[in-house]
């Protein structure tokens, strides 16, 4: 009974129902290559969603992470080309640190000036994007110039299958990175003091402060981790699509926030889980992907995502109200 009441169970139920429905309308949905490509589309949004989950749990919001992701990605690849460096680990580390540094700026403004996170992150987002496009450059780095090590890393598969007509397809190994990061986030949220303090901050900042949580440390941790995950995901993304586009990720913040809220995180802070978020991400990616399979005009995508946000937030608000009452 307790299992049934958990929001993860509800989300998983809805997800299964939606899968059966989509599969009935178009059986192509259940083909292995479609499922593999679905999982592949989960990776980048999923990694970013882990950061946004942390921010939402703490009662904040972040709209700057797509800008951080694109800046970390583009600057790292520019740097690799300038230094003629070809590798994987160091660049990923560099992008992560860059994202972390950007996130620290968010944390500084949110903590030091007690400013609404939305307004702070709007500002940092505009600054980072404006700087990237205005100072660093606007030209895409195509596959012929991309560092080969990144591309080779991005195309690694866990399993690969050969079709009857000789073409091969596989499940990208990036899924493992996503799962690893998700597990790490789960452990941090459930079993460390800093994770618990994020929940405490989202539940009631004043109570958290009086209970002895170090809010400065918590806020910096939250925004730094969100930034770091975004930077990491940004570079990983360019390795997976073999392209570095300084205008990438525009509007992605809504998809990711939608996925996290869909996954049962409370819009008022204090509630949310990694498992729920992963289900929410899968649901969002699946719906967007299935619109194409079901031949719905792509122009409807924004409307659908917007409606999902509204429905998910309305449900979340309704649930949390009832719980409080």
């Amino acid at each position: 009974m307790a299992l049934l009441r958990r929001s993860e169970t509800v989300i998983a139920g809805i997800l299964l129902l939606a899968m059966v429905l989509i599969g009935t309308i178009n059986p192509a949905f259940w083909q292995l290559d479609n499922l593999f490509s679905l999982m592949r589309s989960n990776v980048i949004i999923g990694i970013m969603a882990m950061g946004v989950l942390l921010v939402l749990i703490s009662g904040g919001i972040d709209v700057s992470f797509p800008a951080f992701a694109v800046a970390a990605m583009y600057l790292t690849i520019k740097g690799m080309l300038a230094l003629e460096y070809n590798g994987v680990v160091l660049p990923l580390l560099a992008a992560t640190i860059m994202g972390l540094a950007f996130g620290a700026v968010n944390g500084f403004f949110v903590y030091k000036f007690r400013m609404i996170p939305l307004i702070v992150t709007l500002g940092t987002s505009a600054m980072v994007r404006g700087f990237l496009l205005g100072v660093v450059g606007t030209s895409m780095i195509n596959i012929n110039k991309m560092p080969t090590a990144l591309i080779n890393f991005g195309r690694t598969d866990v399993v690969s299958v050969t079709k009857a007509d000789g073409t091969t397809y596989g499940l990208t190994a990036m899924v493992l990175i996503y799962l690893g990061l998700a597990l790490a986030m789960h452990l941090v949220l459930r079993h460390t003091m800093i994770g618990r303090s994020a929940y405490a901050l989202g539940g009631d900042p004043e109570a958290a402060r009086r209970a002895g949580f170090d809010l400065r440390k918590t806020i910096f941790f939250i925004y730094c981790v969100a930034g770091a995950l975004a930077g990491f995901a940004g570079l990983l993304h360019s390795g997976m699509i073999w392209l570095a586009n300084p205008r990438d990720f525009v509007g992605l913040e809504l998809d990711v926030i939608a996925a996290v809220v869909l996954g049962g995180a409370s819009i008022f802070g204090g509630r949310g889980s990694v498992l729920g978020t992963m289900l929410g991400v899968f649901m969002l990616v699946m719906v967007k992907n299935s619109l194409i399979i079901m031949r719905v005009d792509t122009t409807w995508q924004l409307v659908v995502v917007g409606l999902i946000v509204i429905a998910a937030t309305a449900l979340s608000a309704w649930r949390d109200r009832r719980r409080a009452a």
Binding site: F113, I119, G123, R129, V135, I267, T299, Q301, I310, W318
Partner: protein, 330 residues
Amino acid sequence: MKAQMNIRSLVNRDNNILQLLVMTVLIFAVMTALSPDKFLRYYNFESITYIFPELGLLSIAMMIAMLTGGIDLSVVGVANLSGILAGVLFHKMAGAAGIADTGILTVLLGGVIALGTGLVAGTVNGLLITRLGITPILATLGTGQVFTGLAIVLTGGPAIVGFPTAWAFLGNGKILGLATPFVLFAVIAVLIAFVLSRTALGINLMLIGTNPKAALFAGLKRERMVLYSYMLTGVLASVAGIILSGRTNAAKSDYGTSYLLQAVLIAVLGGTNPAGGRGTVLGITIAVAALMLLSSGFQILRFSNHLIDFIWGAFLLLVIAINAYKNRTR
């Protein structure tokens, strides 16, 4: 003598206004010093009076949403959708004479549709926030996406080009030698200033923003007042959309996307407290003027639009820091 007194009482009432005026003069002086021959031309100021009303109206709309501690992230979507719906109507109704000569009745109908769009959009936002209890950020983030999405569905992507002459007059024309959008802005600004400071709605909104709990216990109809404020916000956004489509003779789903950041920046810079309870039309008006001088100066200095975005963002963070510093010393 009396005028002097008035100015003094005005400045004393809100020393934020004084700071804004000083800042505006400073920006003016710096830009004049940097490129005197280009910046001081009459044409430069005239073009500012055409461009700033749409941003000014969006900023006032943002300020009204902030009065109750909310925010409206859907204003740009509402503005574009309003312009596009009117444009679709004109293209459907255009006779053999062409769109430019559309009859005045059709133009009026287009105006009603555009304003109605804003009213409906604002009502949806208001109901989502008051009835369903969604936080304003997420509610308007979602509806903004839906409005922009509907705009894309209606146009299929490209811009709707060509509006009636009478419609274009609202964005391009002149009344008594002044830009029509500027006159429109002035009238609306005075009207909103009156509503906010002299009517029950305005006073209620300020009180609700200052202390929601006290307002509730005092028997204020919080839900209804907040709903009205978002309806007003929506209508103001659609007026901005009318002016924008009239000025550019086109409407597109992704016009003015950088206006969202700028409207938030101007609202905060203009002395609005995003946590609610404080905000004036006068502050917004001066802030818009200051930032318009700034951005036209940078454009004359040949800064790219991306760099100007960077400067807007930096300015927003700077203003936050300064406001926090001021509040600490007080």
